[in-house]
């Protein structure tokens, strides 16, 4: 029983960061209507902001969270203005190729600037643990989960309770009508894409403490984020949290209970997506 509870706890804690990364991606897909393959590289920028501030000035990653959010928001906004906006009316394949190119460009830029080395951030609380009954878990994953939850709740509040949030949702539902009603569609897109990037940047700071900073750190999480967004339904922000939870749980259960399950982690993600998409198509027919 203790093993099961510990496994479920591991799954819940992992789901927080998954949901944070996937929410940013869902925002870009749902509002701007663009599949952003460079989302993982925005995460990587956040990780490097955290590493550089820590290595150069000893700045705690908790402080870097705000800096990274603003910095990556700006990178996202510039990317939107310079690259995404001109192709918004282009075929989807062109948009995808563009964001894929942006991903390759940013990754190689990081390789040129920092090299391919894996770099670690070492705040004093990195290995701190908490015990609850027979269960044991890390302070950092727990805090990352809590922070992710808070940010996501803030995002839902913003979208559901503020005028600007209404405008974002309106644009997400219909690209033309909000413009006719005086909503600045381009500014909403800019805000949504910048926010999407900022969420990835914040997740990057968290991952710099939990994992490492390197030019390729975003890749694995982008794959998982795509899986979560697909499972939730493209652009469905509320579904992201549940999809992240379901996939993280599946991953934890298989890793714990299936012999050799650690090697199946990535396959589990995509098996669940397979099952969900197939189930959806059966339900429709």
């Amino acid at each position: 029983m203790e093993l099961l509870l510990q496994t479920l706890l591991n799954g819940v804690l992992a789901a927080g960061v998954y949901a944070l990364v996937a929410s940013g991606l869902a925002l870009a897909v749902g509002v701007v209507g663009i599949v952003n393959f460079a989302h993982g590289e925005f995460l990587m920028i956040g990780a490097f902001v955290s590493y550089l501030l820590f290595a150069a000035r000893g700045i705690d990653p908790l402080v870097s969270l705000g800096v990274a959010a603003v910095a990556v928001f700006l990178v996202g906004a510039i990317s939107y203005y310079g690259l995404i906006r001109p192709v918004l009316s282009a075929p989807e394949l062109n948009q995808m190729l563009l964001t894929f190119g942006l991903s390759v460009l940013l990754q190689n830029l990081a390789l040129l600037l920092f090299g391919a080395d894996t770099r670690v951030v070492s705040p004093p609380y990195q290995g701190a643990t908490l015990s609850l009954g027979g269960l044991s878990f890390g302070v950092v994953p727990f805090a990352a989960f809590g922070l992710s939850l808070l940010i996501l709740l803030g995002l839902y509040w913003f979208l559901g309770r503020t005028r600007l949030g209404f405008a974002v949702r309106a644009v997400a539902q219909n690209r033309l009508a909000p413009g006719l009603l005086g909503i600045e569609t381009q500014q909403v897109y800019l805000l949504a894409f910048g926010l999407s990037a900022a969420l990835a940047g914040i997740a990057g700071v968290m991952l710099s403490v939990m994992l490492y900073a390197s030019p390729t750190v975003g890749f694995a999480y982008t794959l998982k984020a795509f899986a979560i967004v697909v499972m939730a339904g493209l652009g469905n922000l509320r579904g992201v949290l549940w999809a992240a939870l379901a996939l993280a749980m599946a991953e934890a259960l298989v890793s714990t209970y299936v012999p050799g399950g650690g090697g199946w982690v990535e396959a589990v993600f995509f098996l669940v997506i397979f099952a969900v998409l197939t189930w959806r198509s059966w339900r429709r027919t």
Binding site: N10, G115, D117, S122, Q126, V140, M210, G263, V265
Partner: protein
Amino acid sequence: MKRVLVGLLALLGLALAQTTLRVGVLLPLSGVSSVSGKAALNGIQLAADQVNAGGKVKLELVTADDGTDPAKAVPALTKLMTVDKVDIVIGGLASGVTYALSGPIKQYKPLFLCIGAASSVVENAFSGYDQFFHYHPWDYHNVAAALDFFKSLYSQGARKVAILYEDGPFGSAGIKIYQEQLQKAGYAVQAEPFKTGSGNFTAILTRFKAFKPDILYWIGYDVDALPISTQVRQVGLAPKLVYGAPPSWPVGFDKNPLSSDVVGMTAWLPSVSNTESRKFSAAYKKQYGEITDEYMAPMGYTIVLSLAKAAEAAGSADKDKIAEALAKVRMDTPFGPLAFKPSDTGKTQYQGFDSSIWLQFQYLGGTRRPVFPKSVAARPLRYPGSY
């Protein structure tokens, strides 16, 4: 006028006597093995500069990045062979990449000086290729060296080993041998695969908790070092020893408090006390302004010096004559004496080093300290460690 003529003739004589070699260097300068690849390149460049300054052999290096990726390595080798027209290639650091290179190498037939690639799969792939010089020990040598250490831990009361291994060729190739040998040594063993870079080990480590291992032994890459060190504490596994076997460790890991007491295996450390090691460390510091802990740096250095020695002995740039001379090379290196002999299985003809070069170190006070075998130990092993 006469003096000028004599000087010119002397220079001409020197140029004629000098053997010029164009050498391809194919290393992982990006990807998961890049730390080792860049260290190796530094060592190669350092030795090449020394050889060129000596004046007897002139080395022209043509460097290419294999990206720790077979899909990048094969075209890079093809370019070295067909465009850059090299006859000698130094490379083959990661096993998976080197295995993929075995076909093209046999096709273009360069003199291949292999710096890494410990997997027996690579030994099989190059079986019968007579221009293959493998400097690095094979995986069975690694197993033998690690087993000596584990036997000494057994005498200190360790009985159970949990093995975490990445599921690619690097982690999986020798895993069966490890398990069998450890069981033969009296250990109870539980082994689990993982995806390198996934960063999530809590589930597997939670599973290990029921097994209550004395030793957690992980075989993966630098990206896995910090997540494993952190999550061992987070799930409360509390092993008596964490033993890691990545090809290289992350930048800054030694200064991270979570690295404390972690044990690993290496072929060389700057503190190794032999004349060639001291010479190498001093030259490296002079050229790069820092000391390296990566054993691939002296390995690259050793390969180039042995190649230059062979070229000098052969008195020719012909790769077959150089290979013949290299087979007879006897020299002292930062790792100890080097002399080529057939591999233990007899599948390849020219094997440089064996299990004797390996040593175990422990992260203590922010640096790697040799702790085993006793002949090289700078201080006793902290066992049980605090994780």
